[in-house]
Symmetry: C2
Subunit: 188 residues, 2 copies
Amino acid sequence: MSYSTDPRAARSREAMVVAARELLVAEGPGAVTHQRVAQQAGVGRATVYRHWPQPEQLLLEVMSDADLPLFKNPEAPVRRWLHRELRQMADELAVPAIAAMSLALMQSAIWDPDIAHRRDESLKTITERISVAVRSAAETGEVETDAAPADLTAMLVGPIVYRTTSQMGVVSDDLIDRLIDGVGTWHT
Amino acid sequence: MSYSTDPRAARSREAMVVAARELLVAEGPGAVTHQRVAQQAGVGRATVYRHWPQPEQLLLEVMSDADLPLFKNPEAPVRRWLHRELRQMADELAVPAIAAMSLALMQSAIWDPDIAHRRDESLKTITERISVAVRSAAETGEVETDAAPADLTAMLVGPIVYRTTSQMGVVSDDLIDRLIDGVGTWHT
């Protein structure tokens, strides 16, 4: 994969990643081909090839993208925002192809240091974002908690991953509420 | 695999499963061979072969055993018992070979109906055991909760699996306390 500092190249790169992600969610890993991604992103096939010679690399990029759209731009009240983001994560993982791909990546990380690095970066990003949001909620008095950042992620994200990849069940809004309740005392 | 109703055969079968589990935890999947299991269980090699012609079958049996030792025989106070069982689960998953094997089983379950069935049975057993324990704690007034059984499992076990297989970190006693706090209001 090539990373460019040219803003136009960065935009087209992001368009391809977004397109690949949309195809993956809508139709599964098989839909993430150079041709479909090029079409959906409005770029030439050669551009997709240049960034990711193998479709698997693009898939890996999408699934473990450190710049993933989840938990971005927290809003007050944080509780409502957190619920919405966890809901979206649960809905994405409810797509069997996404759950399967997540498990495949988790497993590949055991023997592939590159994938392990991407997993770590991705988790670091999510953990930082959730932590920043919860800290800002604590500052405005919305919540009281002394949970460490990594524990917040484990308590909020862990059960959703478990429900969708092991229990093979639906994440209800009630469960999301319970998870949010579990991280501290909310005053909203 | 053969299942016998003869009590002596059942005992030797259990001894072999226990031996395989001990070898797996202590030395990793590579140690779960017919010879080592026979030696450790004090049975003949032919007996191990008869039950599990392939070592992988024994490994699968151990990893997805519906009769797993965790969360068995709840004791009052339930909070302390729950903490101890979750601690033990976390310690087992802290062994890299066990975490790797768990991920492999979770992933294999996607395309192998037999493994999926074993995973479902195993989860059902754990969920029932946790649910019975929490319900008994509710009856004695130790805890107040209206969480559904599957949600209890997701909230208690999910973060531990996530911490050990994705975050690749240690499960602290403090995190276990937080997880237990999260399932309801405890009066102990």
